[in-house]
């Protein structure tokens, strides 16, 4: 029975991973101010409280602006870098690509502190723009990793064929390259959006007096009475994240199918 141990291991692992997340909606709908069993009945009060907290709305708006800007910016930069990395030979290419990918493994707190120092030295006041800059820095490597996959899946003679058939490099990018890497672009947008949306450390250091949603949440933890409201908010965020991931995966698979390629890996 050597399968037995592995089954138990898998089960324990999944419980450890998902039990806390299941607790979120449980207490979000629980009619009691303390986070403790037994549950006390069903209520939508905490969700109503979300609607009537202007500071929360501001934080949400900030987060959305930051996440969308970061997603677009990172994906554009990633698009250029990934195309260059897969299509052109240039001197010191591995070194350059390596440096771009470095934020992937750098401790975020280091990135956050150094960014803060640089911003202050430059005399820039902290705002959502500084957070966008910081988030873009950490999201670009993800965008590149995703888009590099799309580009290397794509036969480069397709672009040559288009030019050979009379299109300019620019129209070729629009007619051939873009449609073929579009699934990668969408996946990159969604992933960068998600990363930026729940990023805390950089946002915390660089936010000044315009908090993002995670920073706002952290601030609320000082008031125990607000905990159920946070649970409600968490429930919504989990739902959104799962939705986004599923959408990203859908586009990735559709892209593969359209290009007639076998599926290798992915997120889900």
């Amino acid at each position: 029975m050597k399968g037995r141990g592995l089954h138990i291991y898998a089960l324990v692992y999944l419980v450890f991973l998902y039990a806390p997340i299941v607790l979120l909606p449980l207490f979000a709908f629980n009619d009691g101010t303390t986070i403790a069993f037994p549950l006390q009945g069903f209520t939508l009060d905490w969700f109503r409280a979300l609607v009537t907290t202007p500071a929360l709305h501001e934080a949400t708006l900030n987060s959305l602006i930051i996440a969308i800007s970061t997603a677009v910016l990172s994906t554009c930069l990633g698009l250029f870098a990934a195309r260059a990395a897969t299509r052109y030979r240039f001197p010191a290419k591995p070194v350059i690509v390596g440096f771009i990918m470095l934020p992937l493994v750098l401790p975020e707190i280091i990135v956050a502190i150094s960014l803060l120092v640089v911003m202050l030295q430059l005399g820039l006041s902290l705002s959502i723009w500084t957070i966008i800059a910081g988030h873009t820095l950490i999201c670009v490597p993800f965008a590149i990793a995703i888009l590099q996959g799309s580009f290397s899946n794509m036969d480069r003679s397709l672009e040559e064929a288009s030019v050979d058939l009379g299109e300019t490099p620019l129209t070729t990018f629009r007619l051939v390259t873009l449609p073929l890497v579009m699934p990668g672009i969408i996946a990159s947008l969604l992933i960068c959006f998600t990363i930026s949306l729940d990023e805390f450390i950089i946002a915390f250091f660089l936010s000044g007096n315009e908090p993002t949603l995670p920073v706002y949440l952290w601030g609320q933890l000082r008031f125990p009475a607000r905990l159920p409201v946070i649970m409600a908010l968490g429930t919504i965020l989990v739902g959104l994240s799962v939705g986004l991931l599923i959408t990203a995966e859908f586009f990735r698979r559709r892209g593969l199918r359209r290009a007639g390629l076998p599926d290798s890996g992915g997120f889900l």
Partner: protein, 366 residues
């Protein structure tokens, strides 16, 4: 050989050199390719065939020399403005478009109406035998069908030159043979110059009007298939095209256009000067002889020139038998091919035999 008036040159290559960094990929290519010609670039892997083809298409800048297309220097002209189209080795069919959209891709800027365009696409698909396939998704096609779509897509633009980079190498043997004759038929039908890159010598012989044999970035010989096979310009070309026997020989003398040669194993031979492509200085040399220009003599048969020997190896192919024969006094074996016919025996290994030979079939390398 059908050397009438040579056709008007559509491509002229003048001293074309290409360097990749320090690597000298093309080392002075000179050639003229005629209008309506089926021209092949043949050579082993890495000899620069693809590089030359891509230089003609405009995908590679050349380091020096000139490429003229229909009399116009192509220097600085990008691929989208050259009157050439290419069939890529991978076919490069756009996977996100339908068959008809693929074939009509190049017509976007042609200023045609939709109906006119649809008709042109339909005709092009008919021409390659894919009539009615227009609505299929491109990624659902077989290898042979992709190949046809790639052809239709290139030919619909009526280029002056069609460039094909090993278009048949991805197909299985049967499909390849079918496409060889079909490509030839198509080329005659449209009358467009085809330049085919291949490393398959048989394919080049079957399909081409003329063949350029390339080694290490240089054209070793440029000739029609028959001439290439009968009169290879060097030992290397002879080895590369078909099978060729080589025997050491001594060049005795040259007088009034005739060469006197002594070949150990065969004897004395008198050759025309034209049978020696290089210089024919008296001294050691080598003769080349195709397997089919040696004949095994069976009991009772005789010939003008006969050499005795012993069968060392027999390879039976059904329609043909190949013998490896060691001629008396020769330092190495020669291969002889004999067609199997009713009443003709197949010799066994170790048997003594006699070979008939003919000096007219020899090539002499000085």
């Amino acid at each position: 050989m059908k050397d009438k008036t040579p056709p008007r040159p559509i491509i002229t290559l003048e001293g074309v050199h290409k360097y990749y960094g320090d690597y000298h990929a093309l080392r002075g290519i000179d050639a003229e390719i005629g209008e309506g010609e089926f021209f092949s670039l043949l050579g082993p892997s890495g000899c620069g065939k693809t590089t030359l083809l891509r230089a003609i298409a405009g995908f590679e800048d050349i380091s020096s020399g000139r490429i003229l297309l229909d009399g116009t220097d192509m220097e600085g002209v990008p691929p989208n403005r050259r009157p050439t189209n290419m069939v890529f080795q991978s076919y490069a069919i756009f996977p996100h478009l339908s068959v008809a959209e693929n074939v009509g891709f190049g017509l976007r800027k042609a200023g045609m109406g939709n109906a006119e365009k649809a008709r042109a696409v339909g005709e092009a698909l008919e021409m390659v035998g894919l009539g009615g396939y227009g609505d299929r998704a491109a990624h659902a096609l077989s290898g042979g069908q992709r190949q046809r779509v790639a052809l239709a897509r290139a030919l619909i633009l009526k280029p002056k030159v069609l460039l094909l980079d090993e278009p048949l190498s991805a197909l299985d043997k049967k499909m390849r043979e079918q496409m060889q004759s079909e490509l030839r038929r198509l080329q005659r039908q449209v009358g467009i110059t085809f330049i085919l890159v291949t490393h398959d010598q048989e394919e080049a012989l079957i399909m081409s009007d003329r063949i350029a044999v390339m080694f290490e970035g240089e054209i070793a010989q440029l000739a029609p298939p028959q001439e290439l096979y009968r009169r290879p310009a060097s030992r290397r070309v002879g080895e590369f095209i078909g099978m060729m026997n080589f025997l050491p020989a001594t060049i005795m003398s040259e007088a009034s256009g005739k060469l006197q040669v002594e070949v150990p194993g065969l004897g004395k031979a008198e050759l025309e000067r034209a049978q020696c492509p290089g210089p024919a200085n008296p001294g050691p040399g080598e003769i080349g002889l195709r397997p089919e220009s040696l004949t095994v003599l069976f009991d009772g048969q005789d010939a003008e020139r006969v050499a005795p020997g012993k069968v060392e190896e027999v390879t039976y192919y059904g329609d043909m038998t190949y013998y490896d024969v060691r001629l008396e006094g020769a330092p190495n074996n020669v291969t002889v091919s004999m067609r199997n016919m009713p009443g003709r025996p197949v010799l066994a290994r170790g048997e003594a035999t006699k070979l008939a030979w003919d000096a007219r079939a020899m090539v002499l390398f000085g």
